[in-house]
């Protein structure tokens, strides 16, 4: 909607409303399609927009290529989290998780496959689902959020098999540890808990705020982001962004970033993190800041790396947060362009 309007023509109601909507938009989640050529982004109004990456990255890209090819209303509330399997896209918002077929979405047919709610303790509860995690080995999906439990849903039958309890406050983020089938969860109560999926129990609890080196009481104790590499784990949020060695549960490197980080991920030999502030930070494992690349949003909430083997030409990093734009980085050194709702 960015046409140049001559100053004498007044903007219509609709256009003003849309402009305001875009001004106050926050993009909470992003997800790449299984073919690697499309990106789905979910915002706080419950809309999901699909962008064509291959069109935007091609040499004949125009302004329209940076707009979504289809936008649809997925949930009534914000879309907090999305994951994708070979054929489906799962999106989660306030209390419910919905499934969509990628083939349908790309043809602009926006009908959900199913909509399920995990079993909550009382029927009045509508806790938000902050994180979704796919466990390919047992073909299940893990949901975690406001009710402080991790729910497991079997993807074949659609039933909710386990509810892991242990957190005392809502859960922000999940991560999967490949070698042992363990799930890590980080929450508002300041703990990172490791759960063994086969025994359905909590195996280890790391109270991050109790370690002096990383705790920052003035920011709180909440764990906002989590990433794991089997032996190592990075977590951050209220306490400083820290690299932990899981076997010995010791914090090894503290990354000197004052702003709380909202998303972190391992990539090759680097750790990428983003949070308050417009930059994507690249760290070496030893704690040195290798690069800080500014994006276009004032704060970033999610980072996503397109490593789908089917589309090596669309291998990009995308970052989105407190604005209606998704920044695309083709080379980690600079922001190439931005897609916009």
């Amino acid at each position: 909607m960015e046409r140049a309007v001559p100053p004498t023509v007044p903007l219509g109601q609709m256009e003003v409303f849309q402009a305001l909507q875009r001004l106050h938009m926050t993009i909470f989640s992003q997800c790449f399609s299984p073919c690697g050529k499309f990106l789905a982004a979910g915002n706080n109004y419950g809309q999901i927009a699909i962008f064509s990456l291959s069109a935007a990255l091609s040499s004949e890209a125009k302004e329209e290529s940076k707009k979504p090819i289809v936008t649809f209303q997925a949930h009534d509330g914000p879309v907090y989290s999305m994951v994708s399997t070979d054929r489906h896209l799962f999106s989660a918002g306030d209390g419910e998780v919905k499934a969509w077929l990628w083939a349908e979405i790309l043809k602009k047919g926006c009908k959900e496959l199913w909509c399920r709610q995990p079993p909550y303790r009382t029927s009045l509860e509508v806790p938000e689902i902050n994180a979704l995690l796919l466990v390919p080995k047992e073909n299940s999906l893990i949901l975690a959020g406001g009710d402080c439990q991790l729910h497991t849903m079997d993807l074949e039958t659609g039933t909710f098999t386990r509810a892991l309890r242990g957190h005392t406050d809502y859960i922000h983020c999940l991560a999967l540890r490949d070698r042992n089938p363990e799930v890590l969860s980080g929450g508002e109560d300041g703990t990172v808990r490791l759960w063994d999926l086969r025994m359905a129990k909590e195996v280890q609890t790391i109270e991050v705020y109790k370690h002096e080196e990383c705790s920052r009481p003035h920011n709180g104790r909440w764990i906002g982001c989590l990433a794991t590499d089997s032996d190592w784990m990075v977590c951050g949020g209220g306490p400083a962004l820290t690299l932990w060695h899981l076997r010995s549960s010791t914090p090894t490197t503290i990354f000197p970033m004052w702003a709380p980080q909202k998303h972190v991920t391992f990539y090759q030999d680097l750790i990428l993190s983003a949070g308050q502030g417009p930059c994507v930070n690249q760290w070496q494992l030893s704690g040195e800041l290798k690069a800080q690349v500014p994006g276009s949003s004032p704060g970033l909430l999610s980072l996503s790396l397109n490593q789908q083997p089917a589309a090596p030409e669309c291998k990009v990093l995308t970052a989105a947060g407190n604005s209606c734009r998704v920044d695309v980085f083709t080379n980690l050194g600079y922001r190439a362009f931005s897609l916009s709702f």
Binding site: H245, S248, T252, T253, Q268, D269, S286
Partner: protein, 206 residues
């Protein structure tokens, strides 16, 4: 505009094709035709002869320019071949460069993995360094163990002495008590005897 210009275009095209670079060949051939007609119409022997010589020279000029053009044509053909060869070579080297790039990318990934392992090692090493050396700790443990033994020995001997003294005091005290008892008994006996004697004394007349 198109229909009238059509035949004119054709004419221009034909003229350009014949003599595009304006080397004068076309003019020379026209001149040759005119001079042939003049020679046929010439009167005297000398005029005819000079006209004939002029025609021969024009002919040889035409042949010369024809020879030049043929050579140029040959040269162009050979240049084309040369370019084809160079083009193929460059294509091969591009393909080779692509492969090398792919190889280098793999090597970069490998190098990054090695770097990552190196850093992980460094980080863990730092943590381990914080903890004191195992040998020293073991030595300290040994020393403390010995001290503990030594102290417990002392404790034992002290306790033994204490018990001994206790027993000795006990013996002493009990002996004292017995002696006291004996003395008291003696005293009582002697008092009794005294009392008996005085009562016998006060009652002397039977």
């Amino acid at each position: 505009m198109a229909p009238k210009q059509g035949p004119l275009d054709e004419v221009i095209r034909k003229r350009l094709l014949i003599d595009g670079n304006d080397a004068g060949d076309d003019r020379r051939i026209n001149l040759l035709v005119k001079s042939f007609i003049k020679w046929c119409n010439s009167g005297s022997q000398e005029e005819g002869y000079s006209q004939y010589q002029r025609m021969l020279s024009t002919l040889s000029q035409c042949e010369f320019s024809m020879g030049k053009t043929l050579l140029i044509y040959d040269m162009n053909l050979r240049e084309m071949e040369n370019y084809e060869k160079i083009y193929k070579e460059i294509e091969c080297s591009i393909a080779g460069a692509h492969e090398k790039i792919a190889e280098c990318k793999k090597q970069i990934l490998q190098a990054k993995r090695i770097q990552k392992n190196h850093e992980e090692y460094g980080v863990l090493a730092k943590v381990i360094q914080h903890h004191p050396d195992r040998h020293e700790t073991l030595k300290k443990l040994d020393a403390m163990g010995k001290e503990l033994e030594h102290l417990s020995h002392i404790k034992e001997s002290v306790e033994y002495k204490l018990e001994l003294r206790q027993k000795q005091f006990h013996v002493l005290l009990s002996t004292i008590h017995e002696l006291q008892q004996i003395l008291e008994n003696d005293k009582k006996l002697s008092e009794l005897e005294e009392a008996q004697e005085t009562s016998m004394d006060t009652d002397p007349k039977p």
